[in-house]
């Protein structure tokens, strides 16, 4: 509720937060299938948006990776376009690959130290930091 007044000084994260506002489960199925929302996951969107927050070097790495894939991928894509007018899907297998997705740490967050107010073991696998205002 207090995001607006901080907007100017916090552009990067706020942009991500606003983008995330539209995040919903991918859905299809429609009225003909009342129970039929598509088997969806949400991680793709989360990860993709977090990727935008990564440093340029990662973006460059990805660009290089895409460039390497391009020659091999051009031909099947072109064939798919030719066949797009028909009912059938492209018969040629499209070359697929897998890409790493990381949700990086925020390097600006200070590590938990003795000066923090804490509850629970310091070596717990999960650390939840609340930034709060009593009022």
């Amino acid at each position: 509720m207090f995001q607006q007044y901080l907007k100017d000084r916090l552009p990067a994260v706020l942009v991500i937060a606003l983008l995330l506002t539209g995040l919903t489960l991918a859905a299809c199925g429609g009225a003909s299938e009342p129970a039929g929302e598509a088997p969806a996951t949400v991680e793709g969107e989360v990860a993709a948006l977090e990727e935008e927050a990564t440093v340029e070097t990662e973006a460059e790495t990805e660009a290089v990776s895409e460039a390497e894939d391009t020659p091999a991928a051009v031909e099947p894509v072109a064939e798919a376009t030719e066949e797009a007018t028909g009912e059938e899907l492209p018969a040629e297998p499209v070359l697929a690959s897998c890409q790493a997705i990381d949700i990086p740490d925020n390097p600006l967050i200070a590590a938990v130290s003795d000066s923090d107010w804490t509850k629970g073991p310091a070596d717990a696998p999960v650390t939840l930091i609340e930034y709060g205002d009593f009022q």
Partner: protein, 316 residues
């Protein structure tokens, strides 16, 4: 919300509170933060923290000039040992600079408001997950899963060979012939994760009779993924034209991860958006016996039936 998480996670969770007093719009944000620190200096931080939130309606309308008196009263209530010292700390602004430094640090982190949360050094995207117990719990599970992510699946199958996957569940075995020829990358990913034990004790978190049984997310929420995503491999050779088709769940094009589903009927509306990796050849009745569960309708439902393990074998 945080109290409930602490109670549920126990020693698995460390909770940290940092001041982010919105001093430009809240006239008592600063002094209450100082009061918590002054109480904390005498071993009563969390008691004051809890009381300030509990009595927010009471002190928020108190004139500023009377605040120290009110806060000293709270300090007495929670048995701060040296009330005079507590009062002096507020009167002399002992912790004012520290609180302001906390504020600057919070701004530097890039927070959007209060409360804001960080889980394992990652900002919690509250607008996506929801500022609620369930939203935080889901994000905590995802960040816990992050420790087990892979950058890429290793190549574990020979795409010239045929493979069988056996999903051992609490209800029995489901045997699947894998379509190595049409979905070599995604079958390999599935086989890799199975070999790594990824699916052990993971549930079918979404089972909709007449539609699909979906599982493969260790968080049990539907947001989990293995640290990478794979492109779609869709072919006209296999369609969702009968029960028993096995496919990967996704969140849009080329976002296949670890979650998979088994169809209970022809579901042509899913063509051609999902990569089919196989077909049940034995144990469809087992799949159909899985306990129905709809996390969107009832997120608090009991966990789904468990996958004991998934084993991949070359077809003999």
């Amino acid at each position: 919300m945080v109290e409930q998480l602490k109670a549920d996670y126990g020693d698995e969770l460390q909770v940290v509170y940092r001041h982010f007093p919105l001093i430009t719009i809240h006239d008592k944000a600063q002094i209450t933060a100082e009061a918590a620190d002054a109480a904390g200096a005498q071993g009563k931080f969390w008691e004051m923290h809890d009381l300030l939130f509990e009595r927010q309606g009471e002190w928020s309308s108190t004139p500023e000039a009377e605040m120290i008196e009110v806060l000293a009263g709270y300090a007495e209530e929670i048995s701060v040992p040296d009330i005079d010292q507590f009062r002096a700390d507020l009167e002399e602004d002992t912790y004012a600079d520290k609180v302001l430094a906390d504020y600057d640090a919070a701004v530097e982190v890039g927070l959007g408001g209060t409360p804001s949360f960080v889980v394992n050094q990652v900002n919690f995207p509250s607008q996506a997950f929801g500022l609620s117990y369930q939203g935080l719990d889901t994000f905590i599970r995802l960040m816990t899963l992050r420790e087990n992510w892979y950058e890429q699946p290793e190549q574990v199958i020979d795409s010239d060979k045929e493979y069988i996957a056996t999903i051992e569940t609490e209800k029995g075995d489901i045997v699947i012939e894998l379509f190595t020829g049409t979905a070599p990358v995604n079958v390999n990913s599935f086989a890799f994760l199975a070999d790594q034990g990824w699916y052990q004790d993971v549930t079918f978190h979404r089972v909709l009779p007449g539609f699909v049984a979906q599982g493969g997310d260790p968080t049990g929420t539907g947001v989990g993924f293995p640290g990478y995503r794979c492109d779609d491999e869709v072919t006209p050779e296999y369609q969702f034209d009968e029960a028993g088709m096995v496919s990967l769940a996704n969140s849009g094009p080329d976002t296949n991860g670890s979650q998979f589903f088994i169809t209970f009927d022809a579901v042509p509306q899913l063509n051609p958006d999902f990569t089919i990796i196989g077909r049940v050849i034995e144990g469809l009745d087992v799949a159909e016996s899985l306990t129905p569960r709809d996390p969107q309708q009832n997120p608090d439902a009991a966990p789904g039936d468990k996958i004991i393990d998934i084993k991949i074998e070359e077809k003999s």
